[in-house]
């Protein structure tokens, strides 16, 4: 039987079943889009995820991308930064600047955004366990530029649950981590009304090998968990729900992906209105960023990746994304080179300005096949959500390894299908070529690590070490109790405490998390 890439059976032909006409775009439950005219009024934000080496090098790349017509920035941090280690920590050996930019202190953040007006450019930061610290650095840089916090617009990923589920870049155990996330949501509700303090992410769940349905369902259930924690904190639903944002994968199965985005909006709108009693329409509208599927990129015949990415980007656009990252053709090899990232950005521009698909919201809406897929996707997501509710919520589900093993099973099943050639991947297990043409790759400067280490030494020598120590003591004390940690983190950042020092202060109080590996 024919199936989608997620293994969902597809009948030969779908006919007119009893599908109610979906409400127009801009109307509850927003299946067809959150705005009545969608891209007729405003295109999505073209936001290429980018960062490598030192902040000096990444700053140059950002200025280049802005000159090429990119309309927002998206920061990729290196693994030591993501894991809360300084560049001179022994565990950072060989990893500094490799998978993203190395940011060790406020000083590095000042360099990263030199010449970039944060009052005008929206910035997304892919950072999770240390999210509140990097956000504090960002807020202080903005303040030094003279930008008022109320004007700042952007997104912090800050989605720790999907780290335990899929990407595994966690530092502390789940509950103190959730407290830190809730601190940022609470702080944002009163200080940064235009900033999204969280981007609830299915992208990494999908990259870890889940099906489209699992990506959707686990992400929405994570959203419920954040909402429950914020309500528990005493926030009113409409005080923070409009600023919850989402992040989905744009994978290869074209119609399944469009159905996933439509179902996401429909299920979320009903959850917000009916389960939580949100009154503000903005709380009902699920806004999302999409990124084409990194895991679909092939090492073999890498030019084909341009085509894959174009089709995936088209699905995201036809699915009503608010912002989009397109992967570069060379990303099965390395971080993208300048030439490759330019083609990826041009891909979005061709879709936006040449293809004509922006003329109408949800142009496939009402089609039998798409409506059928959407309905099944909604029902499947609701089943998973009810199942996780029954376990006592997402943290309990994670602790018993439920989402992790669902994903591992789906991932292994898919790989077996590729292995047996039930699924053909062009250039990998079908239409192969014996000769591989080399492509030009970005080389990370091998001196980046040494330069970052030296910068930290200079910083430690010249800052006010008493102020640093006092700020870290205050943070430890606050972490022990229940007050919001953001003010203490801001003070530590202003004192030029390093990222590793601040994370270690929190490690002292919260401990570190070790998962039970599920194979």
């Amino acid at each position: 039987m024919r199936t989608t890439i997620s293994g969902v059976p597809v009948d030969a032909v779908y006919g007119p079943e009893e599908f109610p006409d979906p409400a127009p775009a801009g109307q509850f439950p927003y299946t067809r889009g959150i705005h009545p005219n969608m891209y007729r009024d405003r295109l999505w934000t073209m936001r290429q995820f980018s960062g490598f080496g030192t902040p000096e090098e990444t700053n140059a790349r950002y200025l280049y991308l802005l000159r090429q017509g990119q309309t927002g920035l998206s920061v990729a941090f290196d693994l030591p930064t993501l894991m809360g280690y300084d560049a001179d920590d022994p565990l950072s050996d060989g990893e500094v600047g490799k998978c993203g930019v190395s940011i060790g202190s406020l000083e590095d953040m000042e360099i990263l955004f030199a010449g970039i007006p944060l009052a005008d450019v929206t910035v997304s930061m892919t950072i999770n366990s240390p999210a509140s610290i990097l956000w504090a650095m960002y807020l202080v840089v903005a303040e030094k530029q003279g930008a008022r916090w109320e004007r700042l617009s952007g997104t912090l990923q800050n989605d720790i649950l999907k780290e335990y589920i899929a990407q595994k870049e966690y530092i502390y155990p789940p509950r103190p981590s959730m407290r830190l996330v809730t601190d940022t949501i609470e702080f944002g509700a009163s200080h940064t009304p235009r900033f999204n303090p969280i981007s609830i992410s299915g992208y990494h769940i999908r990259e870890a090998g889940s099906t489209a349905l699992q990506e959707l369902a686990f992400t929405l259930r994570d959203g419920i968990e954040y909402v429950d924690w914020a309500l528990e904190r005493g926030l009113a639903i409409d005080a923070f729900a409009p600023r919850l944002s989402f992040f989905f994968n744009a994978h290869s199965d074209f119609f399944e992906e469009i159905a996933k985005y439509r179902a996401a909006r429909g299920v979320w709108a009903r959850l917000m209105r009916d389960r939580y009693g949100a009154k503000d329409e903005r709380s009902w509208k699920l806004r999302f960023h999409a990124q084409t599927a990194g895991c679909s990129l092939t090492w073999q015949q890498p030019q084909n990746n341009i085509v894959r990415t174009s089709l995936q980007a088209m699905a995201a656009v036809l699915g009503g994304a608010q912002s989009l990252h397109t992967n570069s053709l060379d990303e099965a090899y390395a971080l993208p080179g300048e030439h490759a990232v330019t083609i990826a950005l041009r891909t979005q521009q061709v879709i936006a300005f040449e293809s004509g698909v922006t003329a109408e919201p949800d142009p496939f809406g009402g089609g039998y096949f798409l409506e059928h897929l959407t309905r099944d996707m909604e029902a499947g997501a609701q089943d998973y959500i009810a199942q996780i509710d029954g376990m006592g919520g997402m943290i309990a589900a994670i602790e018993r390894g439920f989402p992790q093993s669902e994903i591992a099973n789906a991932s292994y099943k898919y790989q077996r299908e590729v292995e047996s050639r039930e699924r053909i991947i062009v250039g990998v297990n079908g239409f192969t070529e014996s000769e591989q043409q080399p492509i030009e790759l970005l080389e990370i400067d091998r001196t980046a690590e040494a330069r970052q280490v030296r910068k930290l030494e200079f910083l430690r020598a010249r800052r006010d070490s008493n102020r640093v120590a006092a700020s870290l003591d205050a943070l430890r004390e606050t972490a022990l109790h229940t007050a919001n940690t953001m003010p203490c983190i801001l003070e530590a950042v202003r004192a030029y405490a390093t990222l590793g020092e601040i994370c270690n202060a929190l490690r002292d109080v919260f401990g570190s998390y070790k998962e039970t590996s599920i194979v």
């Binding site: 030591p80 060989g94 990893e95």
Partner: protein
């Protein structure tokens, strides 16, 4: 009769992307091998220690972060210091061609780049491991 090949699948460095490591662990197990998966964030010291404790014939490292040039040479050195050079080391992940050649010169038995089939990896391990023959049937 020969006992099953014992393999340690390890995920060194700070990276947490374990999709590949888990698939390999499961595929080797399905192929009849005994697989020990270390979990995440293992230092070379921890991996060599686990290999010693578990008495494995093969260590499989999954590295996607670009940190292989720091991690693998340290691991190979530790194997030499512990007189464990009979343990075969294979590396899978995002390893550029030039680096793959370097790693092989340092004693890595094989490097599997993206798109390598599970069957190729299973066959390589079968070929490279000396089956341990026991003196009597159990």
């Amino acid at each position: 009769m020969s006992s099953p090949i014992r393999v340690l699948v390890a995920k060194p460095g700070l990276d947490g992307h374990d999709r590949g490591a888990k698939i390999i662990a499961r595929a080797l197990r399905d192929a009849g091998m005994e697989v020990i998966y270390t979990g995440l964030r293992q230092t070379p010291e921890m991996i060599v220690n686990a290999a010693l404790q578990e008495d494995v014939q093969v260590i499989g490292l999954s590295i996607l972060s670009g940190a292989h040039n720091a991690i693998v040479p340290r691991l190979m050195e530790l194997l030499r210091q512990n007189e464990m050079t009979d343990v075969k080391v294979i590396v899978g992940g995002i390893i550029p061609d030039d680096d793959a050649e370097d790693l092989k010169r340092q004693g890595v038995a094989a490097v599997f780049q993206p798109g390598a089939s599970l069957e190729t990896i299973v066959e390589f391990i079968r070929g490279a491991s000396q089956p341990v023959t026991t003196g009597q049937n159990h």
